[in-house]
Point group: none
Chain length 145, copies 4
Amino acid sequence: MLSSVDITSNVAVYAQIENHVQFAIASGRLVSGDQLPSVRELSERLNVNPNTVAKAYRDLEVMGLLYTRRGMGVFIEKGVEQKCRENCYKRIGSRLHEVVAEARSAGMPLDDIIDIARKAYELDSDPYVETPNAIASLAKQSAKG
Amino acid sequence: MLSSVDITSNVAVYAQIENHVQFAIASGRLVSGDQLPSVRELSERLNVNPNTVAKAYRDLEVMGLLYTRRGMGVFIEKGVEQKCRENCYKRIGSRLHEVVAEARSAGMPLDDIIDIARKAYELDSDPYVETPNAIASLAKQSAKG
Amino acid sequence: MLSSVDITSNVAVYAQIENHVQFAIASGRLVSGDQLPSVRELSERLNVNPNTVAKAYRDLEVMGLLYTRRGMGVFIEKGVEQKCRENCYKRIGSRLHEVVAEARSAGMPLDDIIDIARKAYELDSDPYVETPNAIASLAKQSAKG
Amino acid sequence: MLSSVDITSNVAVYAQIENHVQFAIASGRLVSGDQLPSVRELSERLNVNPNTVAKAYRDLEVMGLLYTRRGMGVFIEKGVEQKCRENCYKRIGSRLHEVVAEARSAGMPLDDIIDIARKAYELDSDPYVETPNAIASLAKQSAKG
DNA sequence: GTGGTCTAGACCACC
DNA sequence: GTGGTCTAGACCACG
């Protein structure tokens, strides 16, 4: 099944979508001017309510990552790659600090932490790796179609 | 005033308390038989609703980390260090996987991740180092008082 | 390229076109009998959907500002300068009321408001000065061509 | 009737609420730490759907003007007066520029503009003057109650 | 009691 | 076709 969203996750569906888009921009899978899949299309693919997708898109627009052209669709704002990468890195850095601090506080040695990180980096199967690709390819498709 | 809880955090207050206790046990700052501060005392110190503290204690009791002696108070269960350490490690491993996956998805190279982790490990200032101590010392105090 | 329309604006494109024409008439840059550019020509120049231009022209015709001569094109109606000026003034008065009310509600003193208005009046660079000229000159051109 | 919201307006209800709050903060009718009326309470008073109020509150939180304490309610963020005032002034300045430019473009003399502004400033009856007060007093009431 | 999230379905404006 | 807005109602977590 190709549903890119984990409804059992404790992170909200709309937040997952937002993250997907942000990471896709940060890593260059989506670039300025690219059109995103329409609200309806993405909602059908992800099997979620259109409002949920719309909420994610709207948030991203408020953040300045997207813009809407009435009746046309939603597009990646110009010059957001850098800003987006900074945001993502800041977020990741902060969360990484948190978890490392927790690990140290629980008495876990640094080498174990690095070991886990290495192994995690090798794997494909995790929430934030497949989905942005899925969204990115949807975007490419609708740009073509 | 030294409030050990971050009410602005998106992590639920009761969960923060539970984590504090678990990390304190895992790292040996709290050991079997130690008495925890009473619900009322801790709630006053942390400036949170007593129900919140009560829920945390109840959860920890369900997990088998605490036991209650009527009229006496709440105590650390025997032989929980190992179990608690496992819990913490599992939690940390899971969160570490998440954030590493995000980092990779955002295009961050593995070396950067390890670098950040190293630096974070050196630092002292983080949420889970001071707070468990605070609770641990409260525990020592109420054991004495 | 000189696009007279701001597709990123939250003002609908067709409304921008209608405003451009109305202001051009009110200020005398377009006068009775002048021929407007064809729907197709204007849509190409502005790089917008022909339906959008057509809707603007239709609306303006309903308002009695334009008339269409089959096979000939679209022209400014006779004796509309006065009516058009009234429309514009009404619109401006209403919007001015709104923004002044907002300013007062935000605690901005009247003198500041007047100050800003004075300064804004001195300037050249604003949406509704250049664009109607662009349309007006298109009109002149197509009248000639 | 005490419905503070104009559902016939072309500006969205949630946007009206957002504006009310912003102007109330900018003018000092709401200050840091004040609790806002609950989503349900305000939705009943304004006779709109709770989701609409929630959306406005959420947007304001994203903008950094509010913060939420889980299970407790929504509060004005610290030190936003200045920031909020700047936002409001910028918004008003920009809109004022627009409308003045329009007025000039339509041939309206500066003195007429100032005259209208003066008169508008004297009046009470406009969307953005009563409502923030209504919200502000609701906030005060729920703080007391 | 509080807000957060999601669904289902409606209507609108724009292109 | 596109997104924007609003409603009604549900369930959840938190305090």
